[in-house]
Structure formats: C-alpha cells, structure tokens
Symmetry: C2
Subunit: 175 residues, 2 copies
DNA sequence: TTTTACCTGTGACCCATATCACATTTTTCA
DNA sequence: TGAAAAATGTGATATGGGTCACAGGTAAAA
C-alpha cells in the first residue's frame, strides 16, 4: 500500500475514545458504523429476555467489530458492543465502508479476507458447541487464546463458552 | 453483468454431477475447490472420534459450500461434504477463485457479500446455541427455513440443531 | 484508605437432554 | 415387488450442567 493510498484511506476514518463500561453500540439503537480496535478491548453481547448476557465475541486490538447484522441491514442493534477496558477505536460509517471498497479495491480485498476468516472462526465455534463438552471447549479456548484468558474474568469466559460461571469454576479442579 | 463478462467468468467453472450419498469433499483429503450447488442438496459434516456426525450446514441450490478452512489454508479436509440428493455442482479451484477475483472486481464484491452473509448467519446460529433451548431452536428453524424441513429427515435436523433424534422427536408432541 | 462493587469457589439440589433398548413404519434399490 | 436399510416413536434410566445460596476475596473508585 502506497503513501498516497494510505492518506486517501485515512480520510474515511474517525477516531473515538471510550471508557471501560461504555457502550459503543447499544441494543435498540441504529448501527451506523463498524469499529476497528486500536487499543483496548470490547465485548459483543446479547442480553436475552431473562436478563442473561451472552458473549458473541471479544474484540481486541486490530479487530473490526460491530453488530454486523444491524450494520449491513441498516437496522437497530439487537446486540451491544461494550468496553471491557478503556478503548480507542477507529469508526467507519456504512456509506464510507462502501465508498472505500469501491474506491480502493485493495480495501475490498482486505474486507473479503476479514469476512472469510470471521466466517471460518464462527464455523469452528459452532462445531465446538455441537461436538465438544464444556471442559473441552474451555481447554481449547485457553490453548488457542492464552492472552484472552489473562485479560478477561472467568465469568466473562464462561459466558463466551456458553456455560455458567459455577460450572466453569468446577472444570479446573487442580488445574 | 454483461454478456462478455459472463462468458469470461464461465471459463473458470467446471460442472460435475454426483449421486445421493457421494462425497464431494472427504475428511482427510486435500480440498482444492469450492462448489456451487446448481441442483440438489449436500450437507457439510464433521465426524467426531466417537463416530457421531455433526452437521455444520446444508447446502441447497445457489449456495457455495466447501470445507472453507481447508480450502483457504490449502490443507486436508477436517470435514466432509456429502450429497443428500443427486446433486449438480459447479466447481471453482483455489487458483481460479483468486484469479477470478483479481480479474473481475464484481466477482470479488460478490464473494465479499457471500462471506459477509455467511458470517452473519453463523453468528446467529452461535447465538441460538448459546441463548435458546432445544425447543426454541427447533421452532425457529422450521419457521426460518420451512423448505429445509421438508427435504431432510428429522435425524438430520436433530444433528444440525445439536440434539439427539430422540429429543427432537419429543419436542413436537401434538405439533 | 475505606467503601462498594465485582469476582470466585463450593455445597445441595434440579432439570433438560442424552443414552439405551426395542417395536414399527417408511424408503430405497436390486 | 420384495428384501434390506433407514427413519421414527417411545419408555426407562442416567448425567452434565444449571440454579440457588452463601461466604470470602480482589479490585475499583470516591
């Protein structure tokens, strides 16, 4: 990517800073942007009717995240994006996302790669939900993302894995 | 899309026909192609150590499917793609996939859309595995894909939903 | 530094779903 | 068309993981 391409691309972006606990996207509110994490960490969550929170993903440095369904369908969020740490993001609006793809085919290629690997990762997660026990899923997670387990609480991990914090706590007796 | 674009694109594709029960991709064998379903139906499955089959997706007409992880990483399949009906597919090799994207930016755009919607669908499925009961998942499925439930057996649906066929059978007493 | 909120572990008990076993019906294809 | 294979329903029983409850620990914020 050349200097001039980089400068062009930079004009599409806006930087914003959030505090731990802040919502970047909130359930019920229209989603106009997708966000790139420069520094910090967020979680993409769904709060169900019973008040339970489910974690769809953790977004760390260099990840793009938003409520993609709402972003692409131009609707209200059904999920929220909440900061687990003070976080700096770069914002890209829906319009600019498409303008950028049209203007710079390298960016379209880049987003294709992102979408593909996102799809792959989700598929692997579905597989582990279908085929693995709670224990296997937990050990696979700490094996594949050791840094994650150092940055988030056990309760958060439990919610990501789809189990109760009590059950997670019982999985590593003496481990 | 113009006539000449269409003709160019067509040169990248090869048609193949398979019988019900045939494997299009087989666990352990290198994956060189992605497949577009012209007619028929396939399932993407993972067979675990205990011999249990898990269904990752059903590929019906107009869907692209393969073991994407193996396809993109240029490795052996960890999943299989098996025909549920006699099926006609169009094959696109890894090389041609990239050549085509580079040659025809509309195709790259098209694949970006596919990957994005694939990612969205997977995310919704993860959410339903995390947040919904077996019953809710089953009723959501027949609501969202009524045609699917008419083409595949209950055991296959159970496997897709991540539950035993016995449990599925007990979910619709009087329904 | 103190207060307050959040996080973690653990026991007791419960329930949704799995497993096993068997009978019956439906579909496939030779 | 007839035999073999696959799909389905249903009872009995087992179990992984959830829920509730409480206590002690750790971190954040005023």
């Amino acid at each position: 990517m050349t200097e001039s391409e980089f400068e062009l691309i930079a004009t599409y972006f806006t930087e914003r800073k959030f505090k731990r606990g802040d919502y970047v996207v909130r359930q019920g509110i229209k989603v106009d942007h997708t966000f790139f994490v420069v520094e910090g960490m967020m979680k993409l969550i769904f709060d169900d009717e019973s008040g339970k929170e489910h974690i769809l993903s953790f977004a760390m440095e260099n990840w793009w995240e938003t409520d993609y369904l709402a972003f692409h369908k131009r609707t209200q969020a059904t999920m929220s994006l909440k900061c687990l740490e003070d976080t700096t993001v770069i914002c890209l609006s829906f319009e600019d996302y498409h303008n950028l793809c049209a203007a710079v085919s390298k960016m379209e290629h880049f987003f294709l790669n992102k979408a593909t690997s996102g799809h792959l990762a989700s598929q692997q997660r579905i597989l582990s939900l279908l085929a693995s026990t709670a224990q296997e899923r937990y050990f696979k997670l700490i094996h594949n993302y050791p840094s994650l387990t150092k940055r988030v609480s056990k309760s958060q991990l439990a919610s990501y894995l789809g189990l109760s914090r009590e059950t997670l706590s019982r999985l590593y007796k003496g481990k």
